[in-house]
Symmetry: C2
Subunit: 155 residues, 2 copies
DNA sequence: ACGACTCGGTTCGATATGCGAACCTGGTGG
DNA sequence: CCACCAGGTTCGCATATCGAACCGAGTCGT
Protein backbone atom coordinates (compact mmCIF):
# COMPACT_ATOMS: atom_id res chain seq x y z
CA UNK A 1 0.00 0.00 0.00
CA UNK A 2 1.20 3.43 -0.76
CA UNK A 3 -0.32 4.90 2.32
CA UNK A 4 -1.39 3.91 5.77
CA UNK A 5 -4.93 5.16 5.48
CA UNK A 6 -5.92 2.79 8.27
CA UNK A 7 -3.74 4.67 10.73
CA UNK A 8 -5.32 7.94 9.79
CA UNK A 9 -8.19 9.48 11.65
CA UNK A 10 -11.52 9.79 9.95
CA UNK A 11 -14.48 7.56 9.51
CA UNK A 12 -13.47 4.03 8.62
CA UNK A 13 -15.62 2.08 6.24
CA UNK A 14 -15.50 -0.26 3.32
CA UNK A 15 -15.18 2.69 0.97
CA UNK A 16 -12.07 3.87 2.77
CA UNK A 17 -10.85 0.29 2.86
CA UNK A 18 -11.37 -0.11 -0.85
CA UNK A 19 -9.66 3.21 -1.56
CA UNK A 20 -6.75 1.99 0.52
CA UNK A 21 -6.21 -0.71 -2.06
CA UNK A 22 -7.27 0.91 -5.30
CA UNK A 23 -7.50 4.59 -4.40
CA UNK A 24 -4.10 5.26 -5.82
CA UNK A 25 -3.60 7.10 -9.07
CA UNK A 26 -2.62 4.09 -11.15
CA UNK A 27 -4.34 1.11 -9.59
CA UNK A 28 -7.64 1.35 -11.41
CA UNK A 29 -5.96 2.18 -14.70
CA UNK A 30 -3.91 -0.96 -14.28
CA UNK A 31 -7.02 -2.99 -13.62
CA UNK A 32 -8.58 -1.43 -16.69
CA UNK A 33 -5.62 -2.39 -18.83
CA UNK A 34 -5.48 -5.93 -17.54
CA UNK A 35 -9.20 -6.33 -18.03
CA UNK A 36 -8.78 -5.16 -21.60
CA UNK A 37 -6.25 -7.88 -22.26
CA UNK A 38 -2.93 -6.20 -21.48
CA UNK A 39 -1.22 -8.80 -19.34
CA UNK A 40 2.46 -8.08 -19.78
CA UNK A 41 4.46 -5.44 -18.02
CA UNK A 42 5.27 -3.52 -21.18
CA UNK A 43 1.68 -3.55 -22.40
CA UNK A 44 0.40 -2.21 -19.10
CA UNK A 45 3.21 0.31 -19.13
CA UNK A 46 2.11 1.63 -22.51
CA UNK A 47 -1.57 1.49 -21.74
CA UNK A 48 -1.42 3.35 -18.46
CA UNK A 49 1.48 5.69 -19.13
CA UNK A 50 2.72 5.12 -15.59
CA UNK A 51 6.45 5.44 -14.89
CA UNK A 52 8.16 2.06 -14.77
CA UNK A 53 9.06 2.16 -11.12
CA UNK A 54 5.55 3.22 -10.13
CA UNK A 55 4.16 0.43 -12.22
CA UNK A 56 6.26 -2.29 -10.61
CA UNK A 57 5.34 -0.94 -7.19
CA UNK A 58 1.63 -0.84 -7.98
CA UNK A 59 1.66 -4.25 -9.62
CA UNK A 60 3.31 -5.75 -6.56
CA UNK A 61 0.88 -4.00 -4.26
CA UNK A 62 -2.08 -5.22 -6.27
CA UNK A 63 -0.71 -8.74 -6.26
CA UNK A 64 -0.24 -8.51 -2.49
CA UNK A 65 -3.77 -7.20 -2.13
CA UNK A 66 -5.11 -10.14 -4.09
CA UNK A 67 -6.41 -8.08 -6.99
CA UNK A 68 -3.92 -9.39 -9.51
CA UNK A 69 -2.26 -12.72 -9.89
CA UNK A 70 1.23 -13.01 -11.25
CA UNK A 71 1.82 -16.00 -13.47
CA UNK A 72 5.20 -17.00 -14.72
CA UNK A 73 4.84 -18.00 -18.33
CA UNK A 74 8.52 -18.62 -18.84
CA UNK A 75 10.99 -19.75 -16.20
CA UNK A 76 14.09 -18.48 -17.94
CA UNK A 77 14.10 -15.69 -19.24
CA UNK A 78 12.07 -15.17 -16.08
CA UNK A 79 8.88 -13.70 -17.49
CA UNK A 80 5.57 -13.21 -15.84
CA UNK A 81 2.23 -11.77 -16.71
CA UNK A 82 -0.61 -10.45 -14.69
CA UNK A 83 -4.20 -11.58 -14.52
CA UNK A 84 -7.23 -10.49 -12.60
CA UNK A 85 -8.21 -12.60 -9.64
CA UNK A 86 -11.82 -12.96 -8.54
CA UNK A 87 -11.34 -9.84 -6.43
CA UNK A 88 -9.91 -8.07 -9.44
CA UNK A 89 -12.86 -9.03 -11.58
CA UNK A 90 -15.16 -7.79 -8.85
CA UNK A 91 -13.64 -4.37 -9.46
CA UNK A 92 -15.11 -4.18 -12.93
CA UNK A 93 -18.37 -2.67 -11.68
CA UNK A 94 -16.31 0.09 -10.12
CA UNK A 95 -14.65 0.73 -13.46
CA UNK A 96 -17.98 0.59 -15.20
CA UNK A 97 -19.42 3.11 -12.77
CA UNK A 98 -16.47 5.42 -13.23
CA UNK A 99 -16.67 5.06 -16.98
CA UNK A 100 -20.34 5.88 -16.99
CA UNK A 101 -19.71 8.91 -14.83
CA UNK A 102 -16.81 10.01 -17.00
CA UNK A 103 -18.92 9.62 -20.11
CA UNK A 104 -21.60 11.78 -18.63
CA UNK A 105 -19.59 14.40 -16.83
CA UNK A 106 -16.19 14.79 -18.39
CA UNK A 107 -15.53 15.37 -22.05
CA UNK A 108 -13.65 12.29 -23.14
CA UNK A 109 -14.18 9.21 -25.17
CA UNK A 110 -14.61 5.73 -23.77
CA UNK A 111 -11.70 3.45 -24.62
CA UNK A 112 -13.98 0.85 -26.06
CA UNK A 113 -17.62 0.17 -25.94
CA UNK A 114 -18.60 -2.80 -23.92
CA UNK A 115 -21.11 -4.97 -25.67
CA UNK A 116 -22.79 -8.24 -24.97
CA UNK A 117 -25.39 -10.05 -27.01
CA UNK A 118 -24.88 -7.50 -29.73
CA UNK A 119 -25.90 -4.34 -27.96
CA UNK A 120 -23.96 -1.75 -26.09
CA UNK A 121 -24.13 -2.16 -22.37
CA UNK A 122 -26.02 0.61 -20.65
CA UNK A 123 -25.81 -0.43 -17.09
CA UNK A 124 -27.48 0.77 -13.98
CA UNK A 125 -27.20 -0.13 -10.40
CA UNK A 126 -30.18 -2.04 -9.19
CA UNK A 127 -31.20 -3.36 -5.81
CA UNK A 128 -31.24 -7.14 -5.85
CA UNK A 129 -34.08 -7.32 -3.40
CA UNK A 130 -36.70 -5.07 -4.92
CA UNK A 131 -35.32 -4.36 -8.36
CA UNK A 132 -35.42 -0.64 -7.81
CA UNK A 133 -32.58 1.51 -9.11
CA UNK A 134 -30.08 2.62 -6.51
CA UNK A 135 -28.54 6.05 -6.24
CA UNK A 136 -31.62 8.08 -6.96
CA UNK A 137 -32.16 9.25 -3.42
CA UNK A 138 -34.56 6.58 -2.23
CA UNK A 139 -31.91 5.23 0.11
CA UNK A 140 -31.97 5.83 3.81
CA UNK A 141 -28.98 5.54 5.98
CA UNK A 142 -29.71 3.35 8.97
CA UNK A 143 -28.81 5.50 11.96
CA UNK A 144 -25.74 4.29 13.76
CA UNK A 145 -25.97 6.85 16.51
CA UNK A 146 -22.45 8.17 16.05
CA UNK A 147 -21.04 11.31 14.47
CA UNK A 148 -23.18 14.34 15.06
CA UNK A 149 -24.45 16.29 12.15
CA UNK A 150 -25.22 13.34 9.93
CA UNK A 151 -28.76 12.79 8.94
CA UNK A 152 -30.31 10.53 6.38
CA UNK A 153 -28.96 10.53 2.85
CA UNK A 154 -29.99 13.87 1.39
CA UNK A 155 -31.87 14.62 -1.77
CA UNK B 1 -6.91 19.26 -10.32
CA UNK B 2 -3.94 17.91 -8.52
CA UNK B 3 -2.42 16.40 -11.60
CA UNK B 4 -2.38 16.87 -15.32
CA UNK B 5 -3.34 13.32 -16.22
CA UNK B 6 -4.54 14.56 -19.57
CA UNK B 7 -1.04 15.57 -20.57
CA UNK B 8 0.29 12.17 -19.70
CA UNK B 9 0.74 9.40 -22.20
CA UNK B 10 -1.38 6.32 -21.94
CA UNK B 11 -4.77 5.34 -23.15
CA UNK B 12 -7.32 8.12 -22.67
CA UNK B 13 -10.85 7.21 -21.78
CA UNK B 14 -13.72 8.18 -19.59
CA UNK B 15 -12.26 6.13 -16.77
CA UNK B 16 -9.05 8.11 -16.90
CA UNK B 17 -11.10 11.27 -17.23
CA UNK B 18 -13.16 10.39 -14.19
CA UNK B 19 -10.05 9.51 -12.22
CA UNK B 20 -8.66 12.88 -13.17
CA UNK B 21 -11.45 14.45 -11.20
CA UNK B 22 -12.06 12.00 -8.37
CA UNK B 23 -9.03 9.71 -8.54
CA UNK B 24 -7.35 11.62 -5.80
CA UNK B 25 -6.97 10.22 -2.33
CA UNK B 26 -9.59 12.38 -0.66
CA UNK B 27 -12.12 13.24 -3.33
CA UNK B 28 -14.35 10.21 -2.95
CA UNK B 29 -14.15 10.32 0.83
CA UNK B 30 -15.33 13.91 0.65
CA UNK B 31 -18.21 12.93 -1.58
CA UNK B 32 -19.03 10.15 0.86
CA UNK B 33 -19.10 12.57 3.77
CA UNK B 34 -21.21 15.12 1.97
CA UNK B 35 -23.62 12.44 0.84
CA UNK B 36 -23.93 11.33 4.46
CA UNK B 37 -24.95 14.80 5.50
CA UNK B 38 -21.66 16.45 6.45
CA UNK B 39 -21.91 19.79 4.70
CA UNK B 40 -19.63 22.04 6.69
CA UNK B 41 -15.89 22.27 6.44
CA UNK B 42 -15.29 21.06 9.96
CA UNK B 43 -17.65 18.11 9.63
CA UNK B 44 -15.98 16.97 6.43
CA UNK B 45 -12.63 17.52 8.08
CA UNK B 46 -13.55 15.21 10.93
CA UNK B 47 -15.23 12.66 8.74
CA UNK B 48 -12.43 12.27 6.25
CA UNK B 49 -9.42 12.89 8.45
CA UNK B 50 -7.81 14.87 5.66
CA UNK B 51 -5.36 17.63 6.58
CA UNK B 52 -7.00 21.03 6.49
CA UNK B 53 -4.99 22.40 3.62
CA UNK B 54 -5.64 19.31 1.51
CA UNK B 55 -9.30 19.56 2.29
CA UNK B 56 -9.61 23.18 1.15
CA UNK B 57 -7.72 22.32 -2.01
CA UNK B 58 -9.89 19.31 -2.77
CA UNK B 59 -13.11 21.10 -1.96
CA UNK B 60 -12.18 23.91 -4.33
CA UNK B 61 -11.19 21.44 -7.02
CA UNK B 62 -14.44 19.54 -6.62
CA UNK B 63 -16.42 22.76 -6.80
CA UNK B 64 -14.51 23.73 -9.95
CA UNK B 65 -15.17 20.32 -11.41
CA UNK B 66 -18.88 20.72 -10.76
CA UNK B 67 -19.12 17.87 -8.28
CA UNK B 68 -19.84 20.06 -5.29
CA UNK B 69 -21.66 23.32 -4.95
CA UNK B 70 -20.65 25.86 -2.40
CA UNK B 71 -23.49 27.73 -0.77
CA UNK B 72 -23.02 30.65 1.51
CA UNK B 73 -25.40 30.28 4.39
CA UNK B 74 -24.16 33.35 6.23
CA UNK B 75 -22.68 36.45 4.67
CA UNK B 76 -20.82 37.64 7.74
CA UNK B 77 -19.20 35.62 9.43
CA UNK B 78 -18.62 34.44 5.86
CA UNK B 79 -19.70 30.83 6.12
CA UNK B 80 -20.38 28.35 3.40
CA UNK B 81 -21.35 24.76 3.14
CA UNK B 82 -21.00 22.19 0.44
CA UNK B 83 -23.63 20.20 -1.35
CA UNK B 84 -23.60 17.60 -4.07
CA UNK B 85 -24.54 18.75 -7.53
CA UNK B 86 -26.22 16.43 -10.00
CA UNK B 87 -22.78 15.31 -11.10
CA UNK B 88 -21.88 14.69 -7.48
CA UNK B 89 -24.98 12.62 -6.92
CA UNK B 90 -24.14 10.65 -10.03
CA UNK B 91 -20.99 9.56 -8.22
CA UNK B 92 -22.98 7.64 -5.65
CA UNK B 93 -23.01 4.47 -7.76
CA UNK B 94 -19.22 4.63 -7.79
CA UNK B 95 -19.22 4.84 -4.01
CA UNK B 96 -21.73 2.04 -3.79
CA UNK B 97 -19.57 -0.11 -6.06
CA UNK B 98 -16.47 0.63 -4.00
CA UNK B 99 -18.35 -0.06 -0.80
CA UNK B 100 -19.60 -3.37 -2.06
CA UNK B 101 -16.11 -4.31 -3.17
CA UNK B 102 -14.65 -3.23 0.15
CA UNK B 103 -17.26 -5.20 2.03
CA UNK B 104 -16.41 -8.29 0.08
CA UNK B 105 -12.67 -8.01 -0.22
CA UNK B 106 -11.27 -5.96 2.62
CA UNK B 107 -11.90 -6.53 6.28
CA UNK B 108 -13.69 -3.43 7.41
CA UNK B 109 -17.11 -2.34 8.43
CA UNK B 110 -19.42 -0.26 6.31
CA UNK B 111 -20.06 3.16 7.80
CA UNK B 112 -23.76 2.69 7.64
CA UNK B 113 -26.08 0.30 5.99
CA UNK B 114 -28.05 1.75 3.17
CA UNK B 115 -31.67 0.75 3.30
CA UNK B 116 -34.76 1.59 1.36
CA UNK B 117 -38.25 0.29 1.78
CA UNK B 118 -37.14 -1.40 4.95
CA UNK B 119 -34.52 -3.77 3.60
CA UNK B 120 -30.81 -3.46 3.21
CA UNK B 121 -29.74 -2.58 -0.28
CA UNK B 122 -27.88 -5.36 -1.99
CA UNK B 123 -27.17 -3.88 -5.33
CA UNK B 124 -25.84 -5.28 -8.52
CA UNK B 125 -24.95 -3.78 -11.81
CA UNK B 126 -27.43 -4.68 -14.45
CA UNK B 127 -27.63 -3.98 -18.15
CA UNK B 128 -30.58 -1.75 -18.88
CA UNK B 129 -31.17 -3.34 -22.24
CA UNK B 130 -31.34 -7.02 -21.46
CA UNK B 131 -31.46 -7.08 -17.68
CA UNK B 132 -28.41 -9.30 -17.48
CA UNK B 133 -25.86 -8.68 -14.76
CA UNK B 134 -22.73 -6.91 -15.88
CA UNK B 135 -19.21 -7.77 -14.82
CA UNK B 136 -19.53 -11.52 -15.03
CA UNK B 137 -17.49 -11.90 -18.18
CA UNK B 138 -20.27 -11.86 -20.74
CA UNK B 139 -19.05 -8.53 -22.02
CA UNK B 140 -17.14 -8.17 -25.24
CA UNK B 141 -15.00 -5.26 -26.07
CA UNK B 142 -15.87 -3.86 -29.44
CA UNK B 143 -12.58 -3.88 -31.34
CA UNK B 144 -11.25 -0.42 -31.94
CA UNK B 145 -8.27 -1.55 -33.99
CA UNK B 146 -5.70 0.24 -31.87
CA UNK B 147 -3.19 -0.95 -29.28
CA UNK B 148 -1.72 -4.33 -30.08
CA UNK B 149 -2.07 -7.13 -27.62
CA UNK B 150 -5.58 -6.33 -26.51
CA UNK B 151 -8.16 -8.95 -27.05
CA UNK B 152 -11.67 -9.32 -25.79
CA UNK B 153 -12.43 -8.97 -22.13
CA UNK B 154 -10.95 -12.06 -20.50
CA UNK B 155 -12.63 -14.69 -18.37
C1' DA C 1 -16.04 44.97 27.26
C1' DC C 2 -12.86 41.21 27.86
C1' DG C 3 -11.41 36.71 27.20
C1' DA C 4 -12.35 32.16 25.39
C1' DC C 5 -14.11 29.88 21.64
C1' DT C 6 -15.78 28.56 16.70
C1' DC C 7 -15.39 28.46 11.83
C1' DG C 8 -12.92 28.29 7.68
C1' DG C 9 -8.92 28.86 6.12
C1' DT C 10 -3.51 29.99 5.11
C1' DT C 11 1.41 29.51 6.05
C1' DC C 12 5.46 26.88 7.30
C1' DG C 13 9.22 23.65 7.22
C1' DA C 14 9.98 18.67 7.10
C1' DT C 15 9.06 14.49 4.81
C1' DA C 16 7.09 11.28 1.56
C1' DT C 17 5.97 10.32 -3.06
C1' DG C 18 6.29 10.58 -7.81
C1' DC C 19 8.91 11.44 -11.69
C1' DG C 20 12.04 10.52 -16.10
C1' DA C 21 16.35 8.78 -17.50
C1' DA C 22 19.89 5.66 -17.15
C1' DC C 23 21.38 1.25 -15.97
C1' DC C 24 21.15 -3.92 -15.22
C1' DT C 25 20.26 -8.89 -15.87
C1' DG C 26 19.16 -12.75 -18.62
C1' DG C 27 18.03 -14.36 -22.84
C1' DT C 28 17.25 -14.24 -28.30
C1' DG C 29 18.05 -13.50 -33.20
C1' DG C 30 21.20 -12.39 -36.88
C1' DC D 1 29.87 -10.74 -31.41
C1' DC D 2 26.59 -7.37 -31.36
C1' DA D 3 22.11 -5.42 -31.16
C1' DC D 4 17.87 -5.85 -29.03
C1' DC D 5 13.96 -7.18 -26.01
C1' DA D 6 11.44 -7.88 -21.55
C1' DG D 7 11.10 -6.69 -16.99
C1' DG D 8 12.80 -4.47 -13.59
C1' DT D 9 15.99 -1.51 -10.25
C1' DT D 10 18.64 2.64 -9.09
C1' DC D 11 19.42 7.52 -9.00
C1' DG D 12 18.75 12.35 -8.19
C1' DC D 13 15.54 15.90 -8.63
C1' DA D 14 10.78 18.11 -8.25
C1' DT D 15 6.53 18.11 -6.42
C1' DA D 16 2.82 16.82 -3.23
C1' DT D 17 1.35 16.03 1.24
C1' DC D 18 1.82 16.19 5.90
C1' DG D 19 0.85 18.05 10.95
C1' DA D 20 1.13 21.97 13.63
C1' DA D 21 0.85 26.67 14.24
C1' DC D 22 -1.22 30.83 13.15
C1' DC D 23 -5.04 34.17 11.68
C1' DG D 24 -9.14 37.14 11.21
C1' DA D 25 -13.91 37.68 11.61
C1' DG D 26 -17.60 36.87 14.51
C1' DT D 27 -20.12 35.15 18.71
C1' DC D 28 -20.99 33.84 23.46
C1' DG D 29 -20.59 34.05 28.52
C1' DT D 30 -19.90 36.89 32.34
Amino acid sequence: MTTRLDELPGRRCSIAGALDVVGDRWALLIVREVSLGAHRFSEILRGTGAPRERLTARLNALVDAGVLERRGYSSNPPRADYHLTKAGRDLLPVLQALMQWGDRHVADTPPVELHHHGHRIAASWVCDVCGEPVGRGTERRVPDGSEPGHGPVPR
